[in-house]
């Protein structure tokens, strides 16, 4: 088995994160203006970084943390680039 069971805590935790992703998705679909959707994408980006770290915990492999690191840096540049475009500065 590549992973280890931690009991109820992890189930509650994943449930909370999935609810968070779902709510952000609702805002992403329904958001009246473009900045609303950019905010939703920003929140989804951070939650994705956390999910990658937690998956590293589930699979017990340290190499997975590198994915989270690369993701944290690059998704930030994407969000800032889109914000600069909206502002008209790009």
């Amino acid at each position: 088995m590549p992973y280890e069971i931690y009991g109820l805590t992890v189930y509650v935790y994943v449930g909370l994160i999935m609810l968070g992703v779902l709510f952000s998705l609702v805002r992403f679909v329904a958001g009246p203006s473009a900045p609303d959707r950019v905010v939703a994408t920003d929140i989804l980006t951070t939650i994705t970084t956390v999910v990658l770290v937690v998956l590293a915990l589930f699979f017990k492999r340290q190499i997975y943390l590198d994915v989270a690191l690369v993701y944290a840096v690059l998704a930030f540049t994407a969000v800032v680039a889109i914000a600069r475009f909206l502002e008209g500065g790009l």
Binding site: L16, G20, L22, D42, T49, Q62, L65, A72, A83, R84
Partner: protein
């Protein structure tokens, strides 16, 4: 054992804050208030969760701290960029807002 319990407590706290951030994203009336609630809560929630993972596996702690620092430095910057972009594309403040000192400054710049 006690170390795993502490890590799980940090994980749960992080999960609750991330959930609250998305709830705020859903409930607040305009872009600026959404950003108020979501940026703060998601930053602390993500940091707390990653610290929990680092406590459960102490060998991973340096890399976890690096990811935490990246999140701590980059999240306010992206929130600031989105907020300014929202104002410049003409998103109105919520109708219950008290004052808006930034609009006069923008008019000065246009002249």
């Amino acid at each position: 054992m006690i170390q795993k319990t502490i890590g799980e407590v940090f994980l749960i706290i992080g999960g609750i804050f991330m959930f609250l951030a998305s709830l705020g994203l859903l409930r607040m009336p305009d872009v600026y208030n959404r950003m108020q609630t979501s940026t703060k809560a998601v930053t602390l929630g993500a940091m707390s969760s990653i610290l929990g993972v680092g406590i459960i596996h102490p060998a991973w702690l340096p890399k976890c701290i690096l990811i935490m620092l990246f999140i701590l430095f980059t999240n306010p910057v992206s929130a600031h960029a989105i907020g300014r972009a929202a104002y410049r594309t003409g998103v109105k403040l919520w109708k219950g807002s008290v004052c808006d000192k930034y609009g006069s400054c923008m008019e000065d710049e246009d002249e």
